[in-house]
């Protein structure tokens, strides 16, 4: 029997990062997910962590698994990865009619990349790090502006140069003088030059 009819349902989940969908608590489908989670709990699965993470965001995230049923009555099967998004959960599946699952929004990325599975403490640390980096960038850019707008103050050791001399950056003619300076310092090997 041909399974070509499945292709149109599978297409939505193809591509990098498209395996995950989100079901907001406001959606009627979330009640089905909640019921399923309770059935997992009755079977001895620990759903606490997953539920508390979803409560924080007010949506569930599920991973596409496969298409089942037939052309007249298709279903999309998802995994509810209660023990972490990186681990297969073939024992924690939920089937949702394809007509309903068509409306589900894609998560857009993996839960890991979206930091959905981090604890409150871990999130706080990341937030603090970002704030420090932003402050650093602001300080650096401000510093750069300040430097460019400062008058060209020159500094020289007292008594070494006449204050009446106009100063400029050393030009091309300085090359010879700089070379002499380095030679005197012993900083160059003579035969190389």
């Amino acid at each position: 029997m041909s399974s070509k009819w499945k292709l149109k349902y599978v297409a939505k989940y193809k591509g990098r990062g498209n395996c995950w969908i989100k079901i907001p608590f406001s959606s009627p489908a979330s009640k089905v997910v909640k019921k399923k989670l309770l059935s997992f709990k009755e079977k001895g699965f620990d759903i606490e962590n997953y539920v508390s993470l979803c409560n924080r965001k007010e949506f569930y995230w599920l991973r596409y698994h496969k298409i089942i049923g037939n052309e007249d009555n298709p279903f999309v099967v998802y995994e509810i990865r209660i023990n972490g998004s990186k681990v297969d959960h073939k024992a924690n599946l939920i089937s949702i009619p394809a007509k309903i699952s068509e409306k589900f929004e894609l998560l857009g990325n993996t839960p890991h990349k979206l930091n959905l599975e981090l604890s409150d403490q871990e999130l706080l640390l990341i937030q603090k790090k970002k704030e420090v980096e932003v402050k650093k960038e602001e300080t650096n850019s401000v510093k750069e502006e300040v430097i460019e707008s400062l008058p060209n103050l020159m500094s020289y050791p007292e008594g070494c140069v006449s204050p009446m001399v106009n100063f400029r950056l050393p030009g091309r003619s300085d090359r010879v003088l700089f070379e002499d300076f380095l030679l005197t310092e012993g900083a160059l090997v003579e035969d190389v030059i």
Partner: protein, 97 residues
């Protein structure tokens, strides 16, 4: 006449020219020197460029009698705490606050 300011050991300086137009280069005698863009032919293999706004402070000022009273300043770089020698005339790449 240009604006002038006296600096001494401990004075702060900031590099006020464009980034990557001057360098600190470690030479064959093991000491590091300030090398302006004009003199970049003298850069060794071991060098790094200086960025606009980089902070330094003066750790020594020496006047060398046997070099026609040349004045050499040693600066310490905030970035890596390393010191290098700079001729007084190259100080015009820097400014004070």
């Amino acid at each position: 006449m240009s604006n002038m300011k006296e600096v001494r050991v401990g004075s702060s300086l900031w590099f006020c020219k464009k980034s990557d137009t001057a360098f600190v280069s470690k030479m064959k005698n093991g000491k590091s020197y300030f090398v302006s863009g004009t003199n970049k032919d003298f850069l060794s293999d071991d060098y790094s460029s200086i960025k606009n706004g980089e902070y330094f402070f003066i750790t020594s000022i020496k006047t060398l009698r046997d070099q026609n009273y040349a004045t050499l300043i040693t600066l310490s770089r905030e970035k890596d705490k390393k010191q290098f020698v700079i001729r007084w005339k190259d100080l015009f790449h820097f400014c004070t606050k």
